[in-house]
Symmetry: C2
């Protein structure tokens, strides 16, 4: 008996979900739901395409709907709306608004007896879990999150808005000295700007003033001004060839102490190096869809997060096999 | 309302539990239970000492008993025996026998309506959880576990049994090239011996044949013969000064692939650098005691492992705070 997955939204994340479902033999992708004209969308693996508005008609044909919209405007509306009909998973990642999102989805899902798992992915998601375990085990300590090396869409977009810029890609990179200090367990005080540097690759329009573009980038408040920032001007061909991927990653590290005199230092680290940010996030969402299906079968209705899910629920393997082989 | 913790067994691990409970304001250590004469045992923080045989008389006065015995002979007997009376946590770590241990504890705990969380710690424990998450998220991939740098008690004991050896300490150390190859995501084939080397510090008895001792160590089957092993002869004073701690650690790494052509590589790593192996393990057991208490309150009786526990159950912080601050 296969878990029937619907994919709501078909950008990078939706395509990643389609591919991840194909890697999990206990699941079937029923189809993609899009706001575009369904005829205009070709799926990677040939699964059917439906109009987003037709989703409610698929009641009973989908076990879990994975919602692949954006956090700014899509998910706050889509997740509660779809939780009326389906078990759902989303990757809502506007950290400050997660409590509000959880509350709005909880009300709908409890009422509809569906299960919603929101804010899944790697941050929020796997990084949140890593923070929680380390914090629970070592109550006296200090947490650090480093992001990168990876492409930041927001920072890339900010550069693209500068006059004379044709295309841009910005990599967030952890500062090696800061990372090493934290890994050594010595609990330094570090701001976000002290932990990260920013490397920018820019394709300028013909005749543009490169010095002005570089100055505008490096002095841009919030985005770059506080950071050590480097700017490289490259050709359109080089951008295409070397910077078309979407790698990302990072590390969550806790420095903690134990002992009679707090004399014993411990360093707990969870780190990711991701060849494709959207495909890894999609892979997390798909494992979460399995957990969501199981929670719903057990009568656990309402809005959950990855912090609420027993790890074993994410795995295709039976509990006995997990105990015998992974424990 | 404080969670009342009993500590059954008072070696390095039991002392670590006593100190860890003191770091968690929602818990109280009720006392230590020992097979030695209670009068002969002084606790680090002054908590009372009881005879192990008196434990059943403490029914109702202890919410969770943390059992700090050894895996070879203590825990297979103690954990089922105590689960008749108490919610219990143990660190049973003989990997091959975990399924049997789980089954024997399950029978007692289900019947007694207690909750037992067994095989907690870091391996088994946090490393098992790391393997499970990475395996569930990236079903196509390869797992690696590196241990160290850390003291192996078993290997240290093996050296101490050689004629002419007064004391010995053996460090298991990951081979740097192997670790780097795995971290780069290139999924090498590696045996345990290719992943680890062994460094031995030996205090020889006066007049002992050092060359023979070194030869006997390096050729010892299973323990050393397959490994790159180095032997240093040192003084008793140096042993005392530089090698009296019990550091350990290691890393669980998964190399996985996603994408239409499996072209995107991902590296997921969970690593530990522990100043004190027993104190860190104890800190895990204490967080697990909180989870065990909560599981029991929810009517989840029987034998659990860390793979079955929602991460949020381990934390002192309310769920709303976890969602607002860690997610």
């Amino acid at each position: 008996m296969s878990i029937k997955i619907g994919i709501y939204g078909y950008g990078n994340l939706g395509r990643g979900v389609e591919l991840a479902v194909a890697q999990n033999p206990d699941m079937t992708a029923v189809g993609v739901f899009t706001r575009r004209a369904p005829d205009s969308v070709k799926t990677l693996t040939g699964i059917p395409v439906f109009a987003a508005n037709d989703a409610p008609n698929m009641l009973g044909k989908i076990d879990v709907m994975i919602i692949c919209g954006g956090s700014a405007t899509d998910l706050p509306q889509q997740t509660p709306a779809l939780a009326r009909y389906f078990n759902v998973v989303d990757s809502f990642d506007t950290h400050a608004n997660i409590p509000t999102h959880v509350a709005s989805v909880e009300a709908v899902a409890k009422q509809a007896k569906t299960t919603a798992l929101v804010s899944a992915g790697w941050d929020p998601g796997m990084f949140s879990i890593a923070r929680l375990y380390a914090d629970a085990i070592l109550p006296e300590g200090k947490d650090y999150t480093f992001w990168g090396k990876g492409v930041s869409q927001g920072h890339s977009d900010a550069i693209r808005r500068i006059e004379g810029v044709e295309d841009a890609r910005q990599y967030t990179i952890p500062v090696a000295e800061a990372l090493n200090a934290v890994r050594s367990g010595c609990s330094p005080q570090l701001t976000t700007a002290q932990k990260h540097e920013r490397e920018c690759f820019v394709v300028a329009k013909e005749g543009a003033d490169l010095a002005r573009i570089e100055r505008e980038i490096k002095t841009m408040p919030n985005y770059f001004a506080d950071y050590h920032t480097t700017v490289h001007f490259i050709s359109k061909a080089e951008m295409q060839e070397k910077h078309s991927g979407l790698p990302h990653g990072g590390a969550v590290i806790r420095n903690g102490v134990t002992g009679m005199e707090k004399q014993n230092k411990h360093v707990v680290e969870f780190s990711l190096k991701l060849g494709s940010n959207p495909e890894f996030t999609a892979s997390v969402l798909v494992a979460c869809a399995r957990a969501t299906y199981r929670l719903n079968e057990k009568g656990e209705y309402g809005c959950k997060t990855m912090l609420d899910v027993p790890p074993a629920y994410l795995s295709i393997k039976p509990r006995e096999e997990l105990i015998a082989t992974l424990l």
